[in-house]
């Protein structure tokens, strides 16, 4: 089955994350702010367009920017919390043979490891985009800035996953798992 979190679950911060509460809340706050602005801007755009025939010209560019900020701010938090959508159909057999922790560690290390190359390539693509001078159409914001942000957060996500994997092996309590 798939984890119901974060659809309906409560908001328990897991053990590992208590250590890094600031590193959770700062990106969390950034994502929340981006989402709130997105909501208010979309509302304002509709009202301004319908009533005053004056839509916000940068609305679409801003929407793209805010979404990237929202999604990639919380990507490390999501990964560190192990809140990705996954299927735990075979959890019982793994638990019976006391393999759950090793399996989780392996999965975390695997997921972290496969992210490094793409993260680096996102950075390369951002640099390429910088060399061509790409900008957002109305906002005129250089696209490589968004690229840098996405690259950095993908890298942080990879590191968080690897750290979680290592903790699961050497210090399972810190990773919020019973040995």
């Amino acid at each position: 089955m798939c984890r119901p979190d974060p659809w309906g679950g409560t908001f328990a911060i897991d053990h590992m994350m208590r250590f890094f509460s600031l590193s959770v809340w700062l990106p969390g706050l950034l994502a929340s702010a981006a989402l709130f602005v997105l909501m208010v801007m979309t509302f304002a755009d509709v009202v301004l367009r319908s009533v005053f025939n004056a839509p916000i010209e940068v609305a679409a560019d801003l929407t793209r920017l805010l979404m990237a900020v929202m999604v990639f701010s919380v990507m490390p938090v999501l990964s560190g919390r192990n809140a990705h959508v996954s299927v735990d159909l075979l959890d019982a057999p793994f638990a019976r043979f006391r393999l759950s922790r090793w399996r989780d560690a392996a999965v975390c290390l695997f997921c972290g490891a496969i992210l490094f190359l793409p993260a680096q390539r996102v950075f390369d693509l951002a640099e390429r985009s910088r060399s061509y001078g790409d900008v957002m159409e109305y906002l005129r914001l250089p696209l490589h800035v968004v690229g840098w942000f996405i690259a950095a957060m993908t890298l942080v996500t990879a590191v968080v996953l690897v750290v979680r994997g290592v903790l699961l092996i050497v210090a399972p309590r810190l990773a919020g798992s019973a040995p």
Binding site: R49, N53, L125, V135, E137, L143
Partner: protein
């Protein structure tokens, strides 16, 4: 064929770019290479602005890019987008390749890939859901219009820009969130504008033109046998492919006009002489602005502009 080139396309299978331009290009490549090289279409690998990256990194061998989708990257390509050139897409595309050779190539804006065709779609016109009788009626219409030259023209006409992706055009017009869209007439068929934008306001020569390039992976090209390379460079790439693509755009425009005339409740309004004069003044302003931009980039802008006019008149 010994080599099958992977042709990346971001357009739906029935679009003229696939059925005419890419099909035509593949045919030309097969013929020039004596059947050694062919191509197959791969759909939806990446969104339009990512196509050049796909080619540079070898995920596909050939792709088409729309310069307007990458604001900031291309300045020289704005020349051909200017309003006021008279002639069809074929004439414009041939002139485009020639002026590129003479003036624009030195900007090296397509660096990292091999440029194999430059072309423009037919004249960009304005399609509205409301009745429009004159240029003045366009003022205040919420319009989906591209950036760059098209955006400048739209601003001068008093259009209110609505920024939505092309596939959302039907929905945006249907819901009334937009009143109009700027496109070449051929697109009326694919975007079903005869249902949601029954009025076509038609300016001779168009309000702008959209600029495309077909690009190829340099690495792939270098890996082909030398005689094939030479044959392709001579018989396909450059002017021949540009001419073929331009002619394909003209054909799609013709189909678009026919479909509009035969559809129920549609209306084509030809710009009056008075409106044409009024628009010429706007066109001159936009032209001056863009030429200054080109000049700043290091192009002999006035000479390049004159060259396009002369080439198109001669064609």
């Amino acid at each position: 064929a010994d080599t099958t080139l992977r042709v990346s396309t971001w357009l739906p299978p029935t679009h003229g770019i696939n059925t005419e331009i890419f099909a035509g290009l593949i045919g030309m490549i097969e013929e020039a290479s004596g059947g050694q090289v062919s191509g197959e279409l791969v759909f939806g690998l990446a969104p339009p602005p990512a196509q050049m990256d796909l080619i540079q990194d070898g995920a596909a061998d050939i792709a088409i890019i729309f310069h307007g989708y990458q604001p900031g990257r291309f300045i020289g390509t704005k020349l051909i987008e200017l309003p006021g050139f008279e002639g069809n897409a074929e004439a414009a595309s041939v002139a485009y390749w020639r002026v590129h050779e003479a003036h624009l190539a030195k900007l090296d804006e397509h660096r990292g890939v091999k440029l194999i065709s430059l072309n423009t779609h037919g004249p960009g016109q304005i399609h509205t859901s409301k009745d429009v009788a004159s240029l003045a009626d366009l003022n205040g219409l919420k319009t989906r219009i591209g950036g760059g030259v098209a955006g400048d023209v739209g601003a001068a006409l008093g259009l209110v820009g609505i920024n939505v992706p092309a596939p959302k055009v039907y929905e945006t017009l249907e819901s009334g969130a937009a009143d109009a869209v700027a496109m070449n007439v051929g697109e009326r068929v694919g975007f079903k504008l005869n249902e949601v934008a029954k009025n076509l306001y038609d300016m001779p020569g168009g309000f702008y033109r959209g600029s495309f390039a077909i690009i190829m992976s340099q690495e792939t090209f270098d890996s082909l046998p030398a005689d094939v390379q030479a044959a392709l460079d001579e018989k396909v790439f450059g002017e021949p492919a540009s001419r073929m693509a331009g002619a394909a755009w003209d054909k799609s425009d013709m189909i678009g006009y026919e479909a509009t005339k035969s559809a129920e409740g549609t209306k084509i309004v030809d710009a009056s002489a008075e409106d044409q004069a009024k628009f010429a003044a706007i066109a001159a302003e936009v032209t001056a602005k863009v030429l200054a931009e080109l000049e700043g980039a290091g192009v002999d802008a006035q000479a390049a502009y004159e060259m396009v006019k002369a080439e198109m008149a001669a064609n």
